[in-house]
Amino acid sequence: MKISTIAELLEAEVLCGEELLENEVHSACGSDMMSDVLAFVKDQAVLLTGLINLQVVRTAEIMDMRCIVFVRGKNPPKEVIEAAEEAGIIVLATTERMYPACGKLYATGLVGGSVSTL
């Protein structure tokens, strides 16, 4: 799925990475607990979260993720967007809550993908 499609499905605002929207991603995960993202994620390129601190960007960077979607209408501080921009990570913001946001993407073919078995 193209990241531009994710933005359309969630009626999301693009906060940075506009030039990367045509990139394709194949799986996603949703979590507000970064330790769980670090524990269980493998190869998921999109992170949906309601947390809006710098550690979200750092976690995404460590996990090689391409796109962060802030849910529940959260408005991340400027330094979070700047850090994502520097890391080449696309940031979207939607007013959707976590469950329907994940549901819409899943129903349209963006699956959960593999789980880290380490």
Partner: protein, 145 residues
């Protein structure tokens, strides 16, 4: 034999926002050295969790990453309060972190278990009131040695 490559970082303890910067730097350095991607992933996740722990619990510390021909060693050292009961701290879900840390996406008792999970060897030396040193090693796959 040449000396192994070594990276040293000071991890500031006063700023949660900067926690993890050293891990991201290590990840980039290992990439520049064309290390095996799965090894980079394991090293950077384990070190990131360790860095977060040092910032949450110990007011920062130091991080050293040493590249041996067959393995990568990460040594995280702090002069914090120490760990009273290491085996309890190793249990998934056990945490002494404060609520404000939880609201930042950490402190769910997954840090040390994650570090163990992503590394091949982990040793914790801790003395209450003195500090903690965590030494982790990730072995390189045969083909990458």
């Amino acid at each position: 034999m040449s000396e192994p490559v070594r990276f040293h970082f000071d991890v500031a303890g006063d700023n949660f926002a900067s926690a993890g910067e050293a891990s991201v730097k290590v990840k980039k350095l290992l990439r520049q050295l064309s290390m095996d991607p799965e090894t980079i992933r394991r090293v950077s996740i384990a070190m990131y969790e360790g860095e977060i722990n040092m910032v949450i619990h110990a007011n920062g510390g130091t991080a050293d990453v040493i590249l041996y021909p067959d393995r990568i060693q990460i040594v995280l050292s702090d002069t914090g309060p120490g760990i009273k009961d290491v085996s309890l701290a190793m249990q998934e879900g056990y945490s002494t972190a404060k609520d404000n840390v939880r609201s930042l996406g950490f402190g769910a008792g997954m840090g040390l278990p994650n570090m163990k999970r992503y590394t091949d060897r982990m040793q914790i030396e801790s003395e209450v009131g003195k500090g903690t040193t965590v030494t982790m090693e990730v072995f390189l796959p045969e083909a990458a040695r």
